[in-house]
Amino acid sequence: MIARLRRIGLPYLLLLPALLLELLIHLIPMIVGIVMSFKQLTQFFIRDWGAAPWAGLDNYRVAVDFDAPVGQALLHSFWVTLCFTVLAVGLSWLLGTAAAILMQDAFRGRGFLRAIFLVPYALPVYAAVITWSFMFQRDTGLINHVIHDQLHLTSERSFWLIGDNSFTALVTVSVWRSWPFAFLCLMAGLQNIPRELYEAASMDGAGVWQQIRRITLPSLRPVNQVLVLVLFLWTFNDFNTPYVLFGRSAPEAADLISIHIYQSSFVTWNFGSGSAMSVLLLLFLLVVTAIYLLVTSRRRDAADA
């Protein structure tokens, strides 16, 4: 009897530490966060948040009232984040795919090049992004030195970390950081394509470019399904890049949603409305993920049939 209990209980016992930690750090805070979003949680209640009065849907009403300043700012931040994410994910995916395909065949220096391409992925975020912020400095940075001093493309040195240019700067840094991950995944995906497919195609007279279009790209579809989703979620939620690049006050043109919520929570200490915004963000991501998986899976089934 005891032996049987031990046998059934063992897997749960093994899982217990992981479960407890996930509960403490992820699940309970998430539930607390949802509860908080219905409370009027201002700085007076930080030490005893249970005492904060209920707010009903007020926090949500304020967040989605797009005529009032708070809602307007949130909506603006949402659009900026969406544009940023689509651009950054698209470019990262493009660079990753191109590099992976071009490096599919062995050539001299391939291993070395691969190691180099992984460096942005391996560098700690803050070290890499601080370096970029140095490069984007108006008077001392490399970017203006090349564009203005050496190529004379601009009539005067431009600001990159404030104003509208900050969006370009943010996309550049984000692509630099995330394309190696796409490259990694796609390289692994390429290794799974059977060699016979290429042999058969080249026997039929298909050239390299045709092989890429007809065999390589379609075979990568399953990898791409996961890869694009993961990149999208990471980029959409990205906090580190803008936080290190711009500091605590992001310029309006690069006001990503994570930074926006962080600021509106820790600057005004209004955790209730910050939580409401986080919950809205989560709902949006859940809906997008669900639709994405539904659409891509259906298309995959259709392609298989």
């Binding site: 059934i8 908080m36 391996a122 700690p124 975020v125 190696p180 991501l285």
Partner: protein, 289 residues
């Protein structure tokens, strides 16, 4: 370790392909390495070189920045904090992940699928969603019990170890699945318990996977910024936040910032490049499956 397959397309490559490859890969290398070059060259420049217009070639080389970085901000303290936090989080995370992955890989139990899906899906949730509640929970636990999680290294370790946990479990399950079950069954016949089989058979056979997971967990903890910026105070500050100390001074000593960035990057980049063979397989196994 899987060997790289032979080149897939046996056909001779046309000139257009070779030239496209040359040009594209050259441009990509420049893009990738530009920050690395800036970091390295600027860290060896005298101060006047980084205060004027950017120079590709330093006017003179100096190691002064590498000495000064330790005085301008208490970098050594941040470094020690980061090492303590990252190493503890890594060790704990890998240990917890080994047990969990063993259960998922070797046992069929109720809730197995639910567990894997739940744990993995926490990965996609925005960090900002946990940040505010976790901050409040830590503050309130501190008030109620006197256990200081907020502002302490312990709280940060706890947080970081759960960050790498889902991915680590996922990767290890893949590794454990590839180890034949006959091996641990044989060990159990020889009188080992399930845990004996885990530590004498499965763990030694999964060393590459465990190494990969450790590097991943360490990188996650070493590079995290969001929680470090909220959950630490002056004595527990880690490099992620501390490095910004150079930039908030009235004068930014960019040569020192670059030297410090290089110093904090070397351990992770070196580890990553040395172990990339294991990591590449492990990190991508999930996406390819």
């Amino acid at each position: 370790m899987r060997k790289p397959p032979p080149p897939p397309s046996p056909m001779a490559q046309p000139k257009s392909f070779i030239w496209t490859r040359r040009i594209f890969l050259t441009l990509l290398t420049v893009f990738t390495l530009a920050p690395v070059y800036v970091m390295l060259s600027s860290s060896l420049k005298p101060l006047q070189d980084v205060q004027g217009s950017f120079r590709w070639i330093p006017s003179g080389f100096t190691f002064r920045p590498y000495i000064d970085i330790w005085h301008t901000v208490p970098l050594a303290k941040y470094f020690v904090n980061s090492v303590i936090v990252s190493v503890s989080a890594t060790v704990a995370s890998v240990a917890v992940a080994i047990f969990a992955a063993y259960a998922v890989s070797r046992y069929r139990f109720k809730g197995r699928k639910f567990f894997t899906v739940t744990v993995l899906s926490t990965q996609m949730f925005p960090g900002i969603l946990f940040l505010l509640p976790l901050f409040l929970i830590f503050v309130n636990i501190g008030n109620a019990t006197g256990i200081a999680l907020y502002g302490s290294r312990g709280g940060l370790i706890l947080t970081y170890l759960t960050f790498s946990l889902p991915f680590s479990i996922w990767m290890l399950v893949g590794y454990f699945d590839s180890i034949p079950r006959d091996l641990d069954e044989a060990a159990m016949v020889d009188g080992c318990g399930p845990l004996g089989a885990l530590f004498r058979v499965v763990v030694p056979a999964a060393v590459p996977g465990i190494v990969a997971v450790s590097v991943y967990a360490f990188m996650t903890a070493w590079g995290e910024v969001l929680f470090a910026s909220v959950m630490t105070n002056d004595t527990t500050r880690t490099l992620a936040v501390g490095l910004q100390g150079y930039a908030t001074q009235t004068d930014v000593y960019w040569n020192q910032v670059m030297a410090a960035s290089l110093v904090v990057s070397v351990p992770v980049v070196a580890g990553f490049l040395l172990l990339q063979r294991y990591l590449v397989v492990g990190l991508t196994a999930g996406a390819v499956k």
